[in-house]
Symmetry: C2
Subunit: 135 residues, 2 copies
Amino acid sequence: MNIGEAAKASGVSAKMIRYYEATGLIPAAGRTGAGYRVYTGTEVQMLRFIRRARDLGFPVDKIEELLALWRDRSRHSADVKRLAQEQIDGLERKIAEMQAMKDSLQHLADACCGDHRPDCPILTDLGSGPVGQRA
Amino acid sequence: MNIGEAAKASGVSAKMIRYYEATGLIPAAGRTGAGYRVYTGTEVQMLRFIRRARDLGFPVDKIEELLALWRDRSRHSADVKRLAQEQIDGLERKIAEMQAMKDSLQHLADACCGDHRPDCPILTDLGSGPVGQRA
DNA sequence: ATGGGGCTTCCAACGGTTGTAAGGTCAAGA
DNA sequence: TCTTGACCTTACAACCGTTGGAAGCCCCAT
């Protein structure tokens, strides 16, 4: 199986497959005589694993840990759950942060009449407020 | 006013002030005979503007537009409001995306008993599911 | 004059992905 | 058999915003 076919089958682009190999996230694939990378079903499954973990927002270093657990038949599911919970917490934090941004901005936008006149509370606020809004 | 003092007064790091100058977001600051950058109150105010816009998640190119409107006394507040609304919509999209990730992951984590045993629906799902979960 | 801290420039890294360029290889059709 | 086009290879750069470091100069206080 070519890298292109593996990409199609896994949902991971050929570019990223090479990148993951270069960074050591996945082991180096076999090669044909001409130097083409060759992939087996197992390797495609691993790529799919990575793709799905990325879809859930896991950073690559966490995926490395997940892959290690995936391969470890004597793993404790508590370890997996802990990683998942950390990821949930991280997502929660980012969501809250962005929600706060959105709320602030919505508040300002609501106060802007949005017509041809130059007066705008959004600009007024940006230009005059205190510095440390994020604490 | 030194770059260090301007950084403290604006909440933008000296590093970033130089970066913003290099990329053209802000005009080049004046210099002392020794080559030190000099900042006036107006320039600090502009830096604060940038800082607050970044706190609201605006990307730099949008901040460039906001700054242009800020300086333009014949602006239409509708233009400002449009930029704000685009930013709100972008935040909304990202929030929804992360919320979907979080919900999926929470669902999986809830099904994982999280003990010493290796069986884990999280890993099972990651290793076996279909590819295009995000559509 | 000597030290410490701030300033200067330049270069690199983070994370994850994509684009591009220059070249080799494979398969199919004429 | 030759050509064509699609695929593969490597290597390098870009994106975004920020931080870190190194090497060297400047200013102030002791």
